[in-house]
């Protein structure tokens, strides 16, 4: 790892911490960032209390869970997108490409209609859909990448039709449609804790495959000459990418764009080495989603927009700018 790349990671970590502090300060009641920092640090250090109880409640119970959930979802989508693009060697791959989001959407729609817990049902449906797609694609113990992509698209379309059917016949279409647009407004500490366990574990497990993902970029034939058990790497990466994506989708709905574009932007900055690219995508995904979510809740206060709208609205032009500026990397 050369120095410049290490610098990118350190810079992103600092930026993430700053982003968390600043976005926690922003909202209908503005709280100065230094007070926010003190409130956050007071959990670990003994600091003289110079803030009101009201400020503490706003920071700790209202804003922080939402900001942290945004960071976790962003990190999950950034990592899963990066892993899928590498594994499938396809620049259009994102965390949702093999039907996870469509499965989660069916689960969430059903949950809204039948009044079941949305997070659990959508997680289960996401897991089932990836299991089905994987097994459809399996031919003689192998899972060819092209077949995986195509069966993912086919199953995804089928599930999208089911979701549409449910929305059309449901008594509560609004809730489902808002959920599909993606948002973090239901954040609470319980969600933060559950997703933190799954996302941090999954991200670390995927990181351990960084070297192997690099070699897989050379193509399956060369990777196998270099001693990689390609089917094992596929199963492993798909499993954990699915885990973190399902964990993200089940708490936030379907937030587009982060998992597709963040890895591309990071690839431009850091090059193709997944051992840098994966953590960079996780950090940048977190920064991006926390920032856009803050915009989503601040832009037309007291109402708020689904963050999925903001991610694409701001992310797409920025990505187009990068695309025009540098067209060297093989993907973009």
């Amino acid at each position: 790892m050369n120095r410049r790349k290490r610098f990118v990671i350190i810079a992103l970590v600092i930026l993430l911490v700053l982003t968390i502090i600043i976005t926690t300060a922003i909202g209908s009641t503005s709280i100065p960032p230094d007070i926010v920092s003190k409130i956050l640090l007071s959990k670990f250090l003994s600091i003289e209390k110079t803030w009101t109880a009201g400020q503490e409640v706003i920071v700790k119970d209202i804003r922080l869970p939402r900001v942290l959930l945004g960071a976790l979802v962003g990190a999950a989508l950034g990592t899963a997108g990066c892993a899928m693009q590498g594994l499938l060697k396809n620049p259009m791959a994102d965390p949702y490409i093999i039907g996870i989001s469509s499965g989660a959407a069916v689960g969430a729609s059903l949950a809204f209609v039948l009044l079941l817990p949305v997070q659990i049902v959508s997680f289960v449906f996401a897991a089932i859909s990836i299991f089905v797609v994987y097994n459809i694609s399996k031919v003689g113990g192998k899972v060819p990448v092209d077949t995986l992509l195509l069966s993912g698209i086919a199953v995804g379309s089928l599930l999208a039709a089911i979701t549409s059917l449910i929305i059309y016949t449901a008594g509560v279409p609004h809730q489902i449609i808002f959920w599909l647009m993606g948002g973090l407004w239901t954040a609470d500490w319980e969600k933060v804790k559950i997703s933190a366990v799954m996302v941090i574990f999954g991200v670390l497990m995927i990181y351990k495959q960084g070297w192997n993902l690099n070699v897989v970029l050379l193509g399956e034939e060369q990777a196998s000459y270099l001693g990689i058990d390609i089917e094992h790497v596929k199963r492993y990466v798909l499993l954990f990418a699915a885990l973190i994506t399902a964990a993200a989708v089940s708490v936030s709905g379907i937030i587009g764009f982060v998992g597709l574009i963040i890895p591309h932007i990071m690839r431009i900055l850091t090059g193709p080495d997944h051992r840098i690219l994966l953590p960079a995508s996780a950090l940048a995904g977190a920064i991006f989603l926390v920032s856009t979510d803050t915009l989503a809740r601040a832009i037309m206060e007291p109402a708020e927009l689904p963050v999925g709208i903001i991610t694409a609205l701001f992310g797409a032009p920025f990505f187009i700018y990068l695309l025009r500026k540098r067209r060297k990397s093989s993907y973009v």
Partner: protein, 263 residues
Amino acid sequence: MFENSEFSRLEVRNLDFYYNGVQILNQININADNGDFIGIIGANGSGKTTLLKVISRVLKPKVGCVFVDGKNINEMKSREIAKNIGVVPQNISINFDFSVEDIVLMGRTPYVKNQETIEDIAVAREAMRQTNTYHLKDRLITEISGGEMQRVIIARALAQKPGILLLDEPTSHLDLKYQIEILELLKGLSKKLIVIAVIHDLNLAAHYCDKIILLKKGEILSNGTPQEVLTHNNIKHAFDISVEIITNPLTNSLFVLPILEKT
């Protein structure tokens, strides 16, 4: 640093290979020891590439076995095979912005766990020096020439520290200078390794290889020294062309001269 002190031995025993029900290889037997530079020749579609893929277990045969140092490769893990057999495939293209050194380091894949050690870097650099690619180490793999690429991929295979090096047409689509350079390099490497290369140019094969295996329709038509294999009859049989075999007065190697009709 490179010498695989162990003695390497490759044995291919009674190998058949079918692809979608069509027989591609039929009763292949090969024995090779350290120090052998073996050329595989034969017409297009005679099974040369398939043979290399079966030896490296990318393709698994239903009949017959491949043994490396007496061990059946079907019982070896992918990593273990990669420590014993390095492969330089045909027509490599890499579209990602890895540096040359990154690519050579990937040869250490069977030895590393996500992070290379100082020893891995030392082995990769030694492989680059051996193949005369060290000066390219910081260049991007997407920006080097075809001849340089071929040497980098050989360096990557050497970084695996294999006892056996397999190459599929390492000299095709290179100009004459690079062809000679690659074959000289392989000749040097073959003193310590088993080198097996598919080679199209019969004259270069005759000059550089110690042994030649001539394939025809998946069978070994002839196997032995260039003098034994490269005969008028064998070539007529395998390639369906008439040739004159003469001795190159400068090198004393055989020279295969196609008999062309006068126009």
